[in-house]
């Protein structure tokens, strides 16, 4: 499968989540908090904490740890 992460094409495996792909690419944070601008990435890993939000195919606030990648996905993070 081919996906793009912040405009960069990359390969993804069946069953890989957006968080899995970002972590595999060496990213540990991809968003900042509203007030203090602190970096956030994965915390709970199972969809509970909402730390890991990304934009997928133009839809904002998708939990990266829950969203399984499909061919052609365009992932945008707040902090490329």
């Amino acid at each position: 499968m081919r996906v793009t992460i912040d405009g960069v094409p990359s390969q993804a495996a069946q069953g890989q989540t957006v968080a899995g792909a970002l972590l595999a690419a060496g990213r540990t944070s991809w968003r900042t908090t509203r007030h203090a601008g602190k970096p956030r990435g994965v915390f709970c890993g199972i969809g509970v904490c909402f730390d890991c939000l990304v934009t997928v195919n133009g839809v904002a606030d998708v939990r990266a740890c829950q969203r399984v990648l499909v061919d052609g996905d365009d992932i945008r993070t707040e902090e490329p």
């Binding site: 069953g15 890989q16 989540t17 968080a19 899995g20 972590l23 595999a24 540990t28 944070s29 908090t33 509203r34 007030h35 203090a36 602190k38 970096p39 956030r40 990435g41 994965v42 915390f43 709970c44 890993g45 199972i46 969809g47 509970v48 904490c49 909402f50 730390d51 939000l53 839809v59 606030d61 998708v62 939990r63 740890c65 829950q66 969203r67 399984v68 499909v70």
Partner: protein
Amino acid sequence: MRVVVIGGGPAGLAAAGAAAAAGADTVLVDSEPVLGGQFHRGHPQRVDARVRHLANSTVWAVEGMRLHVRTGQADSPSRTGEVLNADAVVLATGAHDRVVPFPGWDLPGVYTAGAAQALAKGQGIAIGQRVVVSGTGPFLLPVAQSLKAVGAEVLRICDANTGLGWLGHPRAASPAKLAELLGYAVRLRSAWRPRTAVVAAHGEDKVNAVTVAKLNPDWTIRSQERIAVDAVCVGHGFTPRLELAVTAGCTLVDGFVAVEHTGATSVPGWYAAGEVTGIGGADLAAAEGEVAGTAAARGSHPSRALAKVRSGRRFAAALAAAHPIRAGWHTWLTDDTLVCRCEEVTYKDLRAAVDLDAAGTRTFKLTSRVGLGLCQGRTCGRAAIDIATALASDRRTFFTPADLQRRPIATPLRLAELASLPEEDL
């Protein structure tokens, strides 16, 4: 007779299988793309072919025996809706990690123990190369084992308790469970440190070191050392996912769904099984699921599963007694330690809200904004109650677990989705 099982972990799988075997028209609704829940992640499970399995499907609201379901990719606005009418419901929504806050726990590179486990088992990813595992409870051992299996070096496994308390209850332990735990203990003993904890994480944009403390029995700090790491994972047991149980009106006891020996809750037609009813591991969850699924479908008494439930609960009680959360963790906090990660509410902010003499949950929450963010207090709720109660020195009660779990919409829906719901769906 139609039985709807919510949750496809060990408990829900067993419940659906048992309900179908007892002749009920059975539907299994699970949020994940594949069955297995937390325990079987990476090893997709199958369910009895007579069960209708709705994958990628979340029950987001309940009204009596009507369950509202959304199906589709996580958080996608194009999910589709469905209403299921049930004659009996088995709630098996499981649990998520409980974590007590400490300075720096919001730095990237700090994960829950469950996240480390889920990433290792489900995605083949090690959260770091040099990792410290910290918290309390037997779950830390399989997590450390999985981390090693995906190539991480586990520098320390810190249990804030001695971890040996359950040896005082040998009758409670099943031989298989004991053997499993002893196996881990042998393989991991060089890293294992009782009565220690990660009490701070350091770094600018990512964790680069942790402070590991030797603890007193009440979890106050005796001495500390700094260890360079690139990741840390933390788990202090689990918190049940109760929102559907609370909306359905099920009575809770000690923060879990109260059940009879059949798995029946206080609400007629509603049954519960697995970690929503108490934390005891996958085998117990599966036995409870079999019992509750059978009862929900009015099948005949599964006496072997009932016996397993009884012994499993004894073991679970012994484990829980051996891994208490001690109040000394409050002394790890500094004024600007975040308690609520979403709304960025600090320990100092909570103190200010308590000093304002807020009257109870709602005012306390509104004053401090604790638990009002995206996760709705799922991550910080228990810690916030503990802190507020300690600061108020028993003058007031702040919340009950049910208050914290009162979320009539169990999972966030998109505005576009809400707008498109047909009228009878609302």
